[in-house]
């Protein structure tokens, strides 16, 4: 079972952004698989670092595209990016500090973390840019 399925409604119409969204979904699903099937905490930890780097790069590109297209809610969207980057580091810290960890709850949190921003912010971006 995968955590997030790619859906066409996720598409923003910008090839590079969509490509990175798919990559991120793959990464997050990979992390989820590690956690639930293999119970491999170390590998999951490494994955989180990777997700942080990828998502930081993805936000950087998305912000550039928003600036170039003079997206009206740029600051709002950018603030959400910054908050999400803080959040994922907090999730990593929690995960690192805790040995007895609820894998299921953790995965759900990560999945929500991704999809909420996706549905609220990126969907609007799509409507504007598309």
């Amino acid at each position: 079972m995968t955590l997030i399925e790619w859906r066409d409604e996720f598409s923003t119409g910008v090839a590079s952004v969509d490509y990175e969204h798919r990559q991120l979904i793959e990464l997050i699903n990979g992390l989820y698989a590690k956690l639930t099937r293999e119970k491999d905490r170390d590998a999951a930890l490494r994955f989180l670092g990777e997700i942080y780097a990828r998502i930081a790069a993805h936000f950087a590109l998305e912000e550039r595209i928003m600036r170039e297209k003079e997206y009206d809610q740029y600051q709002d969207h950018k603030d959400d990016h910054e908050r999400l980057l803080d959040d994922i580091l907090d999730i990593m810290d929690e995960f690192e500090a805790n040995t007895g960890f609820d894998d299921e709850a953790f995965s759900r949190r990560l999945g929500e973390w991704f999809t909420v921003h996706f549905k609220s912010k990126d969907a609007r971006l799509h409507r504007r840019l598309g």
């Binding site: 590998a43 990777e50 942080y52 930081a56 993805h58 500090a97």
Partner: protein
């Protein structure tokens, strides 16, 4: 010292503004010139006279600031490698500056002007192109025409304009060149020049020039006119060869040994999505964003121009993939320095962290051009050397503090306006203040972070900065449990 270039620009503007005013009240005929300058100096001393003095003293000051500027850049090795362009384009500016000044002295048409006119003409006549024609203009009063004199006035406008164009070209390779000194320095300098102009106004020498009478004695302005005694002592040809030789030598300096340069930044397309942050932060415009070449569905990729790259690493400091939290794949950012990769910075951090023990462990990230870091290392202090403090991706600070590799972080670099790579300190401060991407995460405890821009001789201030941070850390951590910091350390 680092405002010398900007100061030269400032002097240029003073000279230009005062020159414009003088042009209005100056009579451009041979027989009117001297009288109008006398009127400027004595009758309207409170405005035109001050303007004349400002014009004189600011141009002298410009020679001084330019000479010190170029000596400084030379002695701190700022003339070679990627900086060759600014150095090379600066050399012709010296010719333009000196010819503007010498040309200006003629316009007063006093004894000194006569001396200069005759000597310069003779000197120029040594060149085959003039073939003895120049000096004939000055053989006697009758030969000198108003038209020729007007030509001199126009030259005195044209050469400075060429100088300004040259100055503009001189700073083309520099993004955000500083062409205005700080307000304090600017007003202070202007006040000093004004005071000098009032106390010791610039005066003409002797009476009106009379070409039929040879000038016996003149006082020289050594800032501009040092070459004339030399012509007198040797010959026109000797001085020509000396100046040509000096110019060629100055022009060739960037390529003379000992040449050395670090390898330039490299882009790793697998980690570059074309976000253009490195492009925005490069102080030398060495990065361009070009159409994607590897087939991935991105629009652009970063491309490094090896001729412009200074190997400062600010690009790696700006790259979002350059984060030490990455561990699943090898830590290769989208853009990196081959001789000091981000991976190497991470290794230095981990080595430094494991070498430290005790309370109040402080990790210093220092630039190679700032205070020497060997002296600060000790039992509870470790140092990581960077090409420039701006080469540090801000997430390293988060990494060090959140993973408890140290209790405090100090960033040390060049003097605050004197960054060796121009923008390293500015960008770092803006990243820390969350005004520039990549921003230091807001969750990072700012009280555990200190910056010290003290320059290469600032070893003592750096030590004070480290001690100060350590005192603050122990003061704030005293009430809480202190056990967590060392126990939770993990790689």
């Amino acid at each position: 010292m680092y405002h010398l270039g900007a100061l030269s620009f400032f002097f240029f503007w003073i000279v230009a503004v005062s020159g414009l005013y003088l042009y209005v009240v100056f009579d451009t005929s041979v027989y009117g010139a001297y009288a109008s300058v006398e009127w400027i100096t004595h009758d309207q001393w409170y405005l035109a006279g001050v303007m004349r003095s400002l014009h004189r003293y600011a141009s002298d000051a410009m020679v001084v600031s330019v000479i010190v500027h170029l000596s400084r850049e030379f002695f701190i090795d700022h003339h070679r490698g990627f900086r060759w362009f600014s150095w090379f384009t600066g050399v012709p500016l010296l010719w333009l500056l000196f010819s503007s000044g010498i040309n200006g002295y003629w316009l007063v048409w006093d004894d000194l002007a006569q001396f200069l006119a005759v000597n310069t003409a003779e000197w120029l006549d040594w060149l085959p192109v003039f073939d003895g024609q120049m000096a004939r203009n000055f053989i006697s009063e009758a030969r000198l025409s108003d038209r020729f004199f007007s030509l001199l006035v126009f030259l005195h406008i044209g050469i400075p304009l060429a100088l300004l164009l040259g100055m503009w070209i001189h700073i083309q390779r520099i993004t955000r060149a500083r062409v205005n000194p700080p307000a304090g320095l600017m007003f202070g300098t202007l006040a000093a020049l004004l005071a000098l102009s009032l106390v010791k106004p610039a005066l003409s020498q002797g009476g009106q020039a009379n070409l039929d009478v040879a000038v016996a004695e003149v006082g020289l302005d050594w800032f501009y006119l040092a070459m004339y005694p030399l012509i007198d002592l040797t010959s026109s040809g000797a001085v020509w060869w000396l100046l040509i030789g000096l110019t060629l030598m100055l022009g060739a300096l960037p390529w003379l040994p000992p040449a050395r340069r670090d390898p330039v930044a490299v882009v790793d397309l697998g980690n570059c999505n074309g976000c253009a942050r490195c492009f925005a932060d490069c102080p030398y415009s060495a990065i361009t964003m070009q159409p994607r070449s590897d087939g991935l569905p991105y629009a652009q990729e970063a491309v490094v121009d090896a001729g412009l790259c200074a190997s400062c690493g600010l690009c790696a400091g700006a790259c979002p993939t350059a984060t030490p939290f990455r561990r699943a794949t090898e830590l290769v950012p989208g853009i990196d320095l081959p001789h000091l990769p981000v991976r190497g910075i991470r290794e230095q951090v981990l080595a430094g962290a494991s070498a430290m023990s005790g309370e109040g462990r402080i990790l210093v990230f220092g630039c190679a051009h700032g205070a020497p870091l060997t002296t600060v290392s000790g039992q509870s202090t470790a140092a990581v050397t960077l090409p420039c403090v701006g080469a540090l991706p801000p997430s390293f600070i988060d990494f060090v503090l959140s993973r408890h590799h140290a209790d405090g972080v100090v960033l040390a670099g060049c003097g605050s306006c004197d960054c060796n790579f121009r923008l390293g300190i500015d960008w770092t401060e803006q990243r820390l203040a969350r005004e520039r991407d990549p921003q230091l995460r807001s969750r990072v405890p700012r009280e555990r972070l200190a910056t010290c821009w003290a320059g290469r001789y600032g070893g003592k201030s750096l030590q004070r900065c480290i001690d100060g941070l350590r005192r603050n850390l122990s003061a704030s951590s005293a009430p809480s449990a202190t056990g967590t910091s060392t126990e939770q350390r993990s790689a």
